[in-house]
């Protein structure tokens, strides 16, 4: 994430990307308005029907097409005897003859049953179908190779690589590994042939206009269709226009251009009319590829402690007799687990079937089934928990590529999955869990999929009417491409959803590659973002150059796009609409393009998505019927662009996996080589009744703190450092009079002027950025004073009602500088949520310099001041200073021993009072001014329960700056989406609360699970904890019942513990609605923690504000007390920062 994006997420809480937006094309889909390939209503359209071979191996001896040709409505009958010569299409340079054999209707050879052998074109579909049935064919039939078992002797080494790896791969020494093993697993696994079966059949409409052709096709790859049709007919690619607005499911089978596409084009050319060709479901089983059958052998060797000493994954899969496709089942085994000794080997067996192809997660699906099953066998042999075994063999780096992972939250996936699913309830002994007639089993498996991306292009146009259009030739397979591209364009352009149109699926648009391998969101999404930025830049240029624009002279980095307007980042009241900018500039629109390229040759990381699946399965012990009763999937997939479509993808993948594991199987008649179950009645996919509740947890959503400004500044600096950039830190150190921000407000400024955080309401930033860039260049620190009183108000153009003097410390950041150390300290405080104080020198008189030692003279720098020097104190150790290595600050004050003690004392005062302040220390001729900045530990509120009534409480607490954690035992409810404002969302079973949380003296706990049993567990855990406040929702009688139950379960509570219990929770304000209840609860917590009675203030006989603050922080040390006397100079002190 770049700095500019970070500032955006900080400032714009309503980020469009990531939201669970409904599909923008949803209405079109359910009202029939979404036009699929077969639905284009062309004039004068003819219909083509393909005739399939009824034998699996042999030659066509003869055709009798006479009856068909005479049948009503028939326009043309095409066989290999009269078909036009189509040119072979090479999809890779090495395939040679195979490419030729793929061309349909070119020879009498039959390679597989169902192969197209003739085509009839007629006026209507019914006429074409009838005529096709009238064609008589005589064959010279040969026995087919249709049985993997019978043909295994002819297995051969694939000519092509297996998912980019040699067919035989070796790492280390597997024989030695097996010899060193204490336990060994040797298992054979078989997976059947499976078919994609998208809802929408393959369909093509072809319409020629001279030597140009338009092809409407159901595809995952419009440009691929264009290339293929151009090659088949020997015409330039520009002559082929391919359109595919919606694809009704694909799963890989529409990534390849199959024979019906050139045949539809050939038919259209023949009859000189547009031709529609829709394949039948039965034909899809033979002609559009499939997942090949595999037989895999997995050998594992392991030490007694579970460490793998060897992995061997070998086996066979089938291909066709005329072409080669390898189902790469060994692919994930190369990289999934840490093991020095690894061997993979794959062989192919040619059968009389259509060529297999990639089908949803090719390789992973079949291969992980074998590998993970073998791991479970090993876990059982070693008496280890399956998760434990996987943790033991966790690969901390990619063992194959020898690269670090880009991200890998696999361990977290296991942990969260186990908690979500209730893995601890599993009993590993076979048949030990029973329910009625059922044996109940629980299992888990690792999930992995590589991050794929392809070069792609997009174009974004901002129109004069204030709308925009994003265009790319990419596809929506039902996955939600339209929706996520809309979100990306909206977020980048600052436009509402309804003002952005996404146009895809057309080769007249910028090129995108195949929508396969989960690559589209990343590849095309990046292009759309880039194109949107490019278009915005042109809009900015137009505004920049126009003296009439309020943005005149502003550079792109100073401008933000929001709500259809461009505005100055530093002062968003200076803005104008896209429409105004374009209208005045006399432009109808501005257009930006972006080509995304990925440099994979210099990759420094191995990138994969990881996850863990958990299933509860019931098997009828008499009948063997297997039903899945519960499922949980936890995934680390990076950033989800749309929660809804992302979860839907996960859920769909799980359902498809469930089908493949339990019921999907394409059966070939072993004698005749014909697929027997070639329709959806007999090829079983899961129906609703087969699908259990599926819990999806996306880890990007898990435990991720919502960034506050301070955290954003810290993160932004970490990122600047990571990429070797430079930055300055601006900190408000004193305020006299009124000002928008209080002392301690911070802003990070990068060398290119990007900002994160703020030091004012927008009025001081621009100037501060200029100063900041100067201090970066000179690597110095200085304090700048802004006086907004009186006339100077005009100078700064505030008009915000501020009337004061603000001093801002600006310092260049680099390793070891005071500012960097301060940010590091802030980061530490935030991470462990502790309070702290940072003492900062903001002015130092000459007297100090005279006392300085030799070190400064060596550096030759002007050390007249030590501005920016820091001394941090934290709450548990105010002696932090003494342990700080080579503390600059200690150096600076070394002559003043007694000052050091006073400074510590003042720091303690600031810490206790929780208020920032400045103080001046004088010793001899020296004078040092120090700013004490307090990092307050936010009040930690833990809300147990994630029902709807938790939301207002969380929001209100968040407004008060409390640190809110939502804890729920039900994964489906506690999502980041529902509790966007919470600092963290945690899934945790009630009985595990004390194990999962550190409850401290200031922890405030509110229990509102609405679950009796959970509440009992929580009371048992929380009352004896150090929490200062435990509130529980519900009437008193219920709580008494809970306590009785807790006591019955062995708990015993002291009076002090019971005194912390507030039940019913809240103060008596007559609260009814969840919002009112939240108010009542928050008020009670505040009062209870501050020792106040929560009555009416008018009844109070003491000052409203606590005297404690006044005594611990005397007024003379309050913020800005010294600054009030300062002159109105702008820049008061400058010096080297270290």
């Amino acid at each position: 994430m770049s700095v500019s994006q970070q500032s955006k997420t900080t400032n714009q809480t309503k980020s469009v990307v990531g939201r669970p937006l409904d599909r923008v094309d949803g209405r079109l889909k359910v009202t029939g308005g979404a036009r699929f390939a077969a639905e284009w209503p062309l004039e004068n359209m003819a219909h083509a029907v393909l005739l399939s071979s009824t034998i699996a191996n042999g030659r066509i001896k003869s055709f009798d097409t006479s009856a068909a040709e005479k049948a009503p409505g028939v326009l043309h009958v095409m066989t290999h005897e009269n078909a036009p010569r189509l040119k072979p299409v090479f999809t890779n340079p090495a395939e040679g003859d195979a490419a030729g054999r793929r061309v349909p209707l070119q020879s009498p050879v039959v390679y597989y049953a169902g192969q197209y052998i003739a085509m009839v074109v007629a006026e209507t579909l019914e006429q074409a179908k009838h005529a096709a049935e009238l064609i008589r064919v005589t064959y010279d039939e040969q026995p087919p190779a249709a049985d993997l078992d019978k043909e295994r002797g002819k297995a051969y080494v694939p000519k092509q690589k297996v998912a980019g790896k040699p067919a035989d791969s070796l790492r280390g020494d597997v024989d030695a590994g097996l010899r060193a093993a204490d336990a060994r697993v040797d298992e054979t696994y078989r997976t059947p042939t499976e078919h994609h079966n998208p809802m929408e059949p393959h369909a093509t409409i072809a319409a020629w206009d001279g030597d140009k052709i338009t092809v409407y096709d159901a595809t995952q790859y419009t440009y691929g269709v264009r290339h293929s049709v151009a090659m088949s007919f020997g015409i330039p690619e520009e002559n082929v226009h391919v359109v595919c607005k919606f694809t009704g499911g694909a799963f890989g089978c529409k990534g390849t251009v199959w024979a019906h596409v050139p045949l539809a084009a050939a038919a259209a050319r023949q009859v000189r009319r547009p031709v529609k060709l829709v394949t039948m479901r039965q034909q899809m089983f033979a002609n559009m590829g499939h997942r090949a059958e595999t037989e895999q052998h997995v050998t594992l060797g392991a030490k007694r402690d579970g460490h793998l000493t060897a992995i061997i994954h070998e086996g066979i899969s089938h291909t066709s007799v005329y072409d080669e496709y390898v189902e790469p089942f060994s692919k994930p085994t190369h990289m999934l687990y840490a093991c020095d000794n690894f061997k993979a080997s794959q062989r192919l067996v040619a059968l009389n079937v259509g060529t297999p192809t990639f089908m949803r997660a090719p390789g992973e699906t079949s291969g992980m089934f074998a590998l993970e099953s073998a791991l479970d066998e090993l876990a059982y042999k070693l008496n280890l928990d399956p998760i434990q075994l996987r943790l033991i063999n966790h690969a901390d780096t990619d063992p194959d590529e020898k690269l670090p992972w880009s991200t890998k939250l696999l361990k977290e996936s296991y942990r969260v999955g186990a908690e979500t699913f209730g893995w601890s309830r599993r009993k590993p002994q076979p048949a030990s869990m029973r329910e009625g007639h059922y044996l109940v089993g629980m299992g888990m498996a690792t999930a992995v999929y590589p991050v794929n991306h392809f070069p792609s292009s997009a174009r974004v146009t901002i129109r004069q009417d204030g709308s925009a259009v994003a265009e790319s030739s990419t596809h929506d397979l039902g996955t939600g491409t339209y929706t996520i591209l809309t979100q990306i364009a909206c977020e980048t352009l600052g436009l509402p959803i309804e003002r952005v149109e996404v146009i895809i699926g057309d080769t007249n648009l910028p090129k995108a590659m195949v929508s396969g391998g989960s690559s589209t969101a990343m590849s095309v999404g990046t292009s759309v973002q880039g194109a949107a930025r490019a278009a915005l830049a042109k809009l900015v240029d137009a505004a920049h150059a126009d003296q009439r624009s309020p943005l005149y002279g502003a550079s792109a980095d100073q401008i933000v796009a929001r709500d259809g307007r461009l505005a100055l980042k530093s002062d968003t009241t200076k803005s104008e609409t896209f429409t105004d900018i374009l209208t005045r500039a006399g432009m109808k629109e501005v257009e930006g393009s972006y080509d995304t390229q990925f440099n994979d040759r210099e990759k420094k990381f191995s990138s994969h998505a990881f996850g863990a699946h958990f299933a509860e399965v019931r098997v009828d012990r008499d009948f063997g019927e297997v039903r899945i009763t519960r499922f949980a999937g936890v995934f680390d997939i990076g950033r989800a662009l749309n929660m809804k479509t992302a979860e839907s993808q996960m859920r769909g993948g799980i359902i498809m996996g469930l089908g493949m594991a339990l019921m999907e199987e394409t059966v070939l008649d072993a004698n005749l080589g014909i697929i027997v179950n070639r329709d959806l009645a007999e090829y079983h996919v899961p129906v609703h009744a087969d699908v259990p509740m599926i819990d999806i947890v996306l880890l990007e959503n898990f435990d991720e703190p919502l960034m506050n400004e301070l955290q954003a500044v810290v993160n932004a600096y970490a990122e600047v450092r990571a990429r070797g950039g430079r930055a300055a830190l601006a900190t408000v150190v004193s305020v006299v009079g009124s000002a928008y921000r209080r002392p301690g407000a911070r802003m990070l400024v990068t060398e290119d002027g990007q900002t994160v955080g703020a030091i004012s309401g927008g009025c001081l930033e621009r100037d501060a950025v200029e100063h900041a860039r100067q201090v970066i260049t000179s690597d110095t620190a200085c304090v700048v004073e802004y006086d907004t009183r009186g006339d100077e108000d005009i100078v700064w153009g505030l008009g915000l009602g501020c009337n004061g003097v603000v001093r801002v410390l600006l310092e260049s950041l680099h390793e070891g500088s005071g500012g960097a150390r301060a940010l590091q300290f802030v980061a530490d405080c935030l991470r462990v949520r502790k309070s702290g104080v940072i003492a900062t020198v903001i002015d130092a008189g000459r007297a100090i310099n005279q006392e300085r030692g030799a070190a400064d003279q060596e550096s030759g720098a002007d050390r007249s001041t030590k501005i920016g020097a820091r001394l941090p104190f934290d709450e548990r150790d105010d002696e932090h200073a003494s342990s700080a290595p080579g503390g600059l600050f200690v150096d600076a004050l070394s002559p003043f021993d007694e000052s050091g003690a006073r400074i510590r004392e003042d720091a303690r005062v600031a810490l206790t009072s929780g208020r920032a302040m400045t103080r001046v220390y004088e010793a001899g001729a020296g004078r040092t001014e120090i700013f004490f900045d307090v990092i307050c530990r936010p009040r930690p509120l833990v809300v147990f329960g994630a029902e709807h009534d938790a939301a207002p409480l969380i929001r209100l607490a968040q407004t008060l700056g409390w640190h809110v954690t939502v804890v729920d035992t039900r994964a489906r409810r506690a999502t980041r989406e529902r509790f966007a404002s919470a600092d963290s969302v945690v899934l945790c079973r009630a009985e595990d609360v004390t194990a999962r949380f550190t409850v401290t003296r200031d922890t405030v706990a509110v229990v509102m699970t609405h679950s009796y049993l959970d509440d009992v567990e929580l009371l048992r855990a929380l009352l004896p904890s150090p929490a200062c406040y435990v509130g529980i929702l519900g009437p008193k009688q219920r709580t008494e019942k809970l306590l009785a139950q807790a006591r019955a379960e062995g708990s015993w509570f002291t009076d002090a513990e019971l005194a912390r219990l507030h039940s019913p929770v809240g103060i008596d304000i007559g609260a009814e609605t969840p919002e009112e209840i939240a108010l009542s609860v928050v008020a009670e917590i505040k009062a209870a923690c501050d020792g106040r009675g929560a009555g009416f203030l008018r009844d109070r006989n003491a000052p409203i504000h606590d005297e404690r603050a006044a005594t611990t922080a005397p007024p003379e040390f309050e913020i800005g007390a010294h600054a009030a006397a300062r002159e109105r100079a702008t820049s008061v002190a400058c010096g080297s920062s270290s």
Binding site: A113, E126, F623, D669, V676, N677
Partner: protein, 332 residues
């Protein structure tokens, strides 16, 4: 798909005359099976006589039980209160079949006449004695996991796919038909045929005969009847094995018993020998196991369906135990 003519019948006798006059004519009711078979060129009627407008939808009480019109939809019958109370096995069997959309279209008469789902029958690329008499049966040497274990012949091992008909077999249903030669009643057990040498003839219904209704006689055992269906997925799959059982149990003794199986034969398989063992016997695990043994005594497995024999045995024991309310601790 062959060209055909379509006529909509307005009265029953007209419909029967129309079909009687054309050897290639067929009645069209819900069309959920016939239309599919026509699209796949498995059946090629030259004429369809649409009977959906005929008044054959009523479900009514009779002095001896219930009469269900042939055009009553599977959904209507399954949810009918009289059916659910007096013939629960019929409701359960219907709901175990197809999908809600199909059940809304499919009729009682059509359900009885549905064709086998044998893969080899359904695909014209294969030879098939049922589709093209004398062309051979590739299922016997081929993939026969879903095929018959009882009553098959060397010409055909297909099974009848209906769930409803299995329930009717256990309820002593009578099929009322009308043809050019007049009306007659066919007991359900005689309605469907075994394949023998003529597997292309599924039923004893004559070509010009129309099913007009099905009679269900009331009985104590019918009120205590259940259906059990074992299949590859939870819904929308044909039975691997199904069982319909009806018992009249008094003080632990079985007064009357009816037992029929689906997914095992060319017709709904009424297990008469097993019924004899059950009748008068104590309702206990031993009795049920003996009955189950009798059911599969003459079973002949094919290459891929031997599992059905043991499955049928266990399914019979499970269902009889459930109906009798006896815990057997499993059949295994």
């Amino acid at each position: 798909m062959n060209p055909f003519t379509y006529k909509r019948a307005t009265d029953q006798s007209g419909a029967i005359r129309e079909v009687a006059g054309n050897a290639n004519a067929k009645f069209l009711a819900g069309g959920t099976n016939l239309i599919d078979l026509m699209k796949m060129n498995v059946q090629q009627p030259a004429e369809l006589v649409d009977i959906n407008r005929l008044a054959l939808k009523r479900i009514e009480k009779t002095p001896t039980g219930l009469r269900i019109g042939a055009l009553a939809s599977n959904s209507e019958v399954a949810t009918n209160a009289l059916v659910r109370e007096n013939f629960p096995v019929l409701s359960e069997a219907l709901l175990a079949g197809a999908s809600p959309q199909l059940r809304n279209m499919a009729t009682v008469g059509g359900n009885l006449l549905q064709r086998t789902r044998c893969y080899y029958f359904m695909d014209t690329a294969f030879p098939c004695n049922k589709r093209v008499p004398g062309s051979g049966c590739p299922a016997i040497p081929g993939f026969n996991r879903i095929h018959a274990i009882l009553g098959a012949s060397d010409k055909c091992i297909a099974v009848h796919p209906s769930d409803m008909a299995v329930a009717l077999a256990a309820l002593d249903a009578v099929v009322n038909v009308e043809g050019a030669a007049g009306a007659r009643q066919i007991p359900i057990i005689d309605f469907h045929r075994l394949p023998g040498d003529t597997p292309h003839v599924d039923t004893n219904l004559r070509a010009d005969e129309l099913i007009v209704s099905v009679d269900l006689p009331s009985s104590a055992f019918a009120r205590r009847s259940r259906y059990l269906k074992i299949r590859d997925r939870a819904q929308y799959a044909f039975a691997l094995v199904s069982v319909a059982a009806a018992l009249d149990v008094q003080q632990g003794r079985i007064g009357a018993a009816r037992l029929a199986l689906g997914g095992v034969a060319h017709k709904p398989w009424r297990a008469l020998e097993a019924e004899k063992i059950l009748t008068g016997a104590q309702a206990n695990a031993q009795t049920f196991k003996a009955a189950a043994e009798a059911v599969v005594k003459d079973a002949v497995p094919q290459k891929h369906n031997a599992f059905k024999i043991e499955l049928a045995r266990r399914a019979v024991v499970r269902l009889l135990s459930d109906v009798a309310g006896v815990m057997t601790g499993g059949a295994a």
